[in-house]
C-alpha cells in the first residue's frame, strides 16, 4: 500500500496552510504606525502598532508607574483612554472601580495599540525620566535598614518635590520589576538620590538594594508622588513617620529649612526599641540651628534594663496628641504602617485639621 503519497499530501497541505497564516500575519498583524495623543496635544508620539500601550509609552520615555512589569496584577499603570482603546477587558475590571470604568480609566499594560489613541495621564508623568546612577555609598542605619546614596549619571540631575518617590528597577527571575522608594536626600542636592531601605525577608527590591556595592549601576524612573509642600511659611508642617518612613520626611525637613529657616515644623518618629532609632542625632543638630524645629522620637516597646533612653515612650500618635495644640494652620505628611497612619489621622482630625491637609504613604 502506498503510504508516501497521503503523508506527503497531508504534510504539504499543512505546510501550505501554515505558510499562508505566517504570510497573513506578516501583512495583517502589523498595524502600521499609530499616533498617541497625550493630554490633549501636550505630547504627540508615533508608535509601532500591535504592542501594549505601556510598552509604547515606555519606549517613548513616558514612564507610567508599574510594579508588576505589565502582567496586569498591580493596577498601578492606570491611564484614561479617551478614544481608541477598544472595550475594557476582563483582565482589567477587577483592578478598577466602577467610577473609573465609567471615566474610561484603563490599565496601560492591557490596552493594545491598534489605532490612533487619545489618552490622559497625570501631568507629572510627563516629567518622569529614566535615570541611571552609580552607588556612591551605603551604610547601615540600623540592623536591617540601609541608607543607599546614588550618584546620578544620566541624566545628571533630578528635579523633584520633597515627599516624592522613585521606582527602582530590580532584576527578578521573571524579568525586571519596579519597587517604589522615597527620596530622602533634599531637593537642593539634585545630583544625588538617597534611599532608606528596610530589608524585607524575601523581598525582591530590598534584597537587591541591600546587596549593592559601591560603583554598581542602578536604574530607576521618577519622580512620582502627589505631595506638594505648602508655600505659605505660616503653615506649620507635621511629619509623622514609622520605621523607614522617615525617608521622605528627611527630604521635606531639609528642603524646608533651607528655604524658610524660621518655619515651624514637628517631626514625630515612632520606633520599637533603641536599636531602631536612626538619624536622631542629625535631626537634633538641625533642631539646635532652627529653634522652630521640634524632634520627637518615641519608643513603643518596653526598654530592657541595658537600654538608655531620654526620649518619649508609647505609641507615636499619643506623642502627637500630647505636643500639638489645636487650631494652628498645618500641613501633615504621614508615612508608615497602616494602623499608625489611621491612629495619627484620627488625632490630627481632632486637632482641627481637614482631611485635604493630611497626606500619607501607607506601606
Amino acid at each position: 500500500m502506498d503510504i508516501v503519497t497521503p503523508v506527503l499530501a497531508f504534510t504539504g497541505l499543512l505546510i501550505g496552510l501554515s505558510t499562508l497564516l505566517i504570510v497573513a500575519e506578516r501583512f495583517l498583524v502589523g498595524y502600521g504606525v499609530c499616533k498617541i495623543d497625550i493630554n490633549a496635544g501636550e505630547r504627540d508620539i508615533e508608535v509601532e502598532g500591535g504592542q501594549t500601550l505601556l510598552a509604547a509609552l515606555n519606549e517613548n520615555s513616558v514612564f507610567i508607574p508599574s510594579a508588576c512589569g505589565g502582567k496586569g496584577s498591580c493596577g498601578y499603570c492606570k491611564v484614561t483612554v479617551l478614544s481608541g482603546g477598544g472595550p475594557i477587558l476582563p483582565t482589567e475590571t477587577p483592578l478598577l472601580t466602577r467610577q473609573e470604568i465609567r471615566r474610561g480609566v484603563r490599565l496601560a499594560c492591557q490596552v493594545k495599540v491598534r489605532e490612533d489613541l487619545r489618552i490622559q495621564i497625570p501631568e507629572e508623568y510627563l516629567n518622569v525620566q529614566l535615570f541611571t546612577a552609580a552607588v556612591d555609598s551605603t551604610r547601615y542605619l540600623t540592623h536591617d535598614i540601609k541608607e543607599i546614596r546614588l550618584a546620578l549619571r544620566d541624566p545628571p540631575e533630578i528635579s523633584h518635590r520633597p515627599g516624592q518617590y522613585v521606582q527602582v528597577q530590580a532584576p527578578s527571575p521573571e524579568g525586571p520589576v519596579f519597587r517604589a522608594y522615597s527620596i530622602s536626600s533634599p531637593v537642593y542636592q539634585p545630583n544625588v538620590v538617597e534611599l532608606v531601605v528596610r530589608l524585607v525577608p524575601g523581598g525582591i527590591g530590598s534584597t537587591y538594594l541591600h546587596n549593592l556595592h559601591v560603583g554598581d549601576t542602578v536604574t530607576f524612573t521618577g519622580p512620582f508622588g502627589e505631595f506638594v509642600l505648602s508655600e505659605d511659611p505660616d503653615v506649620e508642617v507635621i511629619c509623622v513617620g514609622g520605621g523607614c518612613g522617615v525617608a521622605p520626611m528627611r527630604n521635606i525637613i531639609y528642603t524646608l529649612y533651607q528655604r524658610w529657616p524660621e518655619r515651624s515644623c514637628w517631626l514625630f518618629f515612632g520606633c520599637r526599641g533603641t536599636s531602631d532609632v536612626f538619624y536622631l542625632r542629625e535631626f537634633q543638630q538641625l533642631a539646635r540651628k532652627h529653634p522652630n524645629f521640634h524632634v520627637v522620637y518615641a519608643l513603643s516597646e518596653e526598654l530592657t534594663p541595658a537600654e538608655e533612653w531620654g526620649g518619649e515612650t508609647g505609641f507615636i500618635h499619643l506623642s502627637v496628641d500630647k505636643h500639638l495644640k489645636p487650631g494652628v494652620r498645618r500641613q501633615a505628611f504621614l508615612c508608615g504602617p497602616p494602623p499608625m497612619i489611621e491612629a495619627v489621622t484620627q488625632v490630627l482630625l481632632e486637632k482641627g485639621m481637614r482631611p485635604a491637609e493630611i497626606f500619607y504613604d501607607k506601606f
Binding site: 503519497t5 499530501a9 497531508f10 495583517l28 498583524v29
Partner: protein, 196 residues
C-alpha cells in the same frame, strides 16, 4: 449528484434540515453561549460567515486535490485543518480591518474552530454530492439555520429568567428541553422540501 437548485437547498438548510435542530450538530457552543441574546447574535454571525466560506473551500480541496490524488479518505482530518486555519486567518483579517466587528465577535471566533456544525456542513456537502453552487447555498443556509436556532433559544432563555423553573430543571436541563420542543416545532417544516 442531486439536481436541487442551490436556492432551494439554501432555504431547506435553514428550515427543514436545520443543522442544529434536525441533526443536533454544534450543541456545545449552542448551549454555552445562548444565555445572552447579543452574544448569541455575535456567535451566530460568525458561524454564518465561517460556514459560508469553509464549505465551498473544502469542496474545492476535496474535488481538486484529494480526489485526483486518490487520498479522499483523508477528507475528515484535512477538513478540520482547513477550518482551523481559516478561522485563524479570519480572526487576523477582522482584527486588522474591522476592530469593531472583532470586538463584537470577541472570543467567539476562535470558539468556532471546534464547532462540529462547521465540519458537519462540509461532510454533508460530501455525502449529498452537491456541486459547487449547491455547496455555497448549503453552507450559507446551514449557517443561517444555526444562527436562527441559537438566536431563538437565546431569546427564550433570556425571557425564562423571569419564569419559575423547577429547581432540578434549571440551567442546561431546561435549555435541552426547550431545544427539543423547538426541534419538534421545526419538524412542521419537514414536508416542504427534502434535500436528503
Amino acid at each position: 449528484m442531486s439536481d436541487t437548485p442551490a436556492l432551494l437547498i439554501l432555504v431547506a438548510a435553514i428550515f427543514t434540515n436545520n443543522i442544529l435542530l434536525s441533526n443536533f450538530l454544534g450543541m456545545c457552543s449552542f448551549l454555552a453561549v445562548s444565555r445572552q441574546l447579543d452574544a448569541a447574535v455575535g456567535l451566530g454571525m460568525a458561524v454564518v460567515f465561517v460556514m459560508t466560506c469553509t464549505t465551498p473551500l473544502n469542496y474545492v480541496i476535496y474535488y481538486d486535490v484529494l480526489l485526483p490524488w486518490g487520498i479522499e479518505y483523508l477528507a475528515l482530518i484535512v477538513f478540520i485543518a482547513v477550518i482551523a486555519a481559516f478561522v485563524q486567518f479570519v480572526e487576523m483579517f477582522v482584527e486588522r480591518f474591522s476592530p469593531k466587528l472583532y470586538y463584537a465577535l470577541g472570543i467567539f471566533l476562535p470558539l468556532i474552530t471546534v464547532n462540529c456544525a462547521i465540519l458537519g456542513a462540509a461532510l454533508f456537502m460530501l455525502v449529498r454530492k452537491y456541486n459547487f453552487a449547491q455547496s455555497v447555498g448549503f453552507g450559507f443556509g446551514a449557517g443561517v439555520g444555526w444562527a436562527l436556532a441559537i438566536i431563538l433559544i437565546a431569546g427564550l432563555r433570556q425571557k425564562m429568567g423571569y419564569s419559575n423553573v423547577p429547581r432540578p430543571f434549571e440551567g442546561v436541563a431546561i435549555a435541552m428541553i426547550i431545544t427539543g420542543v423547538m426541534a419538534m416545532a421545526f419538524m412542521g417544516f419537514a414536508g416542504m422540501v427534502s434535500i436528503q
